[in-house]
Amino acid sequence: MSIDFYFEMFSLGTAIFCYTALKQSRMVYFIPFLLLTVIVEFIGYLAIVYEINYKNYWLYNVFNTIEFMFYAFMFAQHFQLPILKKLAYSFLPLLILFSANNYINLQGTDRFHTYTLLFGSFFMVFFCCCYFYEWVLPEQITQNLVRQPFFWICVGLLLFYLGSVIINALYEYLRSSDMIQEGKRIYVFINRSLNIILYTSFSISFLICRKNRKESLSQL
């Protein structure tokens, strides 16, 4: 198993450990989501072990769409401004349409859906910026951003999608230029590093949730 898989497991473990604190907010949805992530990664790993590598793309293609939908839903739950909420919700059908179009007309069934990934990445970075924008508004300024659990989720997502955008954009080019093996190696390296950042941020977020709950209980 790769090292990032252990970080995913750790993140899931932290979420379960902080369940009591997470269930007070929408952050609790991260538990089933991370469980699904771990299952998908495990199936993906088995596919490599049993050398059915080329047939597991569909799994990641479907999972990526679900992943983007989940993050967009979480953003919609955390946005304060109605226009941003609407924007996040309207991204959901847009993503399904784009993904379906990519499946039927563009990249088909047996290729990795990098276009969907790029489309989703763009919106994720955009939503992260929107979230930070809300925090620089005067009415929010008294609160400490670093103590907000969702801030750390955004940190992870922003760094992950910013870092992976180049390799995703050039993935098709690498395939077509006889660099498939080297390209894959770089792809795996970059994604693993970014996954470690992403899931560490998630874990920090869950621990902050727990800390905040503890503090609010001690103030009663």
């Binding site: 930070f132 620089v136 910013l162 230029s177 660099m179 080297e182």
Partner: protein, 265 residues
């Protein structure tokens, strides 16, 4: 692997790292911006609080100045005139029936005494001479003299020794306000003041009565009168906290927690 291909892959890695660094820079920028904004807002809030306190202090100084002026006028002018009236009345007494004279003389005597007491209560210089503890004791003695109340005063010798002149005056006015409220609303027959130490840096001043009490939930609904609001505002000025315990028909206890580190210096 050809050098050209290697160059492409290195470029991809460098570009990805560069993007991540941009993200980190962006996050740091937001973090410092928010921290600065929060600090600025807190400073603004603190300045506003200081300004309010200075304003309140000035108001209290003007009030004390007015009180002192009225007190002097009562003592030096009205009091003197009334004493003169009493002497004149004694001269005229020969032509008046005894009963009328005695009654008028008695009333005049009472007016002079009451005015003296009022003059003492208004004069802050006197409080500074005798100290806060004696001042509070004297307030209870005056109530006792009316015959309507029995009073009790319990305080160790060193009570409230750390309270400075300005703050002892504010505290004195707060207690006066509480006693006024008891007289006006409580229908009490007994008033007790207890001062006790809560560690070396904090004293508790408790004023209790056996009156009709009131529903303290009204305090949370902001349905308090000006008197109580004044008490809360003044308590804030001297870094004290006020707690009120009361229930209907079971009297009221007001506790001031006076700390050794007043905000107002």
């Amino acid at each position: 692997m050809p050098k050209e291909q290697e160059g492409i892959l290195v470029t991809i890695v460098v570009a990805s790292v560069f993007f991540v660094l941009i993200g980190i820079f962006f996050l740091i920028l937001i973090f410092f911006f928010l921290r600065r904004q929060r600090k600025y807002k807190m400073e603004k809030e603190e300045m506003r609080n200081r300004f309010e306190q200075t304003l309140l202090k000035t108001q209290l100084e003007i009030q004390e100045h007015t009180f002192n002026y009225i007190s002097q006028e009562i003592h030096d002018n009205i009091g003197q005139i009334l004493s003169l009236v009493r002497i004149n009345l004694n001269v005229l007494a020969e032509n008046l029936p005894d009963v009328h004279f005695e009654k008028t003389d008695e009333l005049l005597g009472k007016v002079i005494r009451d005015l003296r007491t009022l003059s003492h209560n208004l004069n802050s210089n006197r409080l500074q001479e005798i100290g806060i503890v004696e001042g509070l004791k004297s307030l209870l003695q005056q109530l006792e003299k009316t015959g309507k109340y029995s009073t009790e005063f319990n305080a160790p010798i060193s009570s409230l020794s750390f309270v400075n002149k300005d703050n002892s005056l504010i505290l004195y006015r707060m207690v006066q306000e509480v006693l006024n409220n008891i007289i006006k609303h409580a229908q009490a027959s007994k008033i007790v003041i207890d001062i006790e130490a809560k560690g070396s840096q904090c004293h508790l001043l408790k004023i209790s009565d056996n009156g009709r009490g009131f529903d303290t939930s009204k305090l949370q609904e902001n349905k308090t009168g000006i008197g109580l609001q004044n008490i809360f505002t003044r308590a804030k000025m001297i870094n004290s906290s006020v707690s009120i315990k009361s229930s209907e028909q079971e009297g009221t206890t007001i506790v001031f927690e006076i700390n050794n580190q007043p905000l107002l210096k």
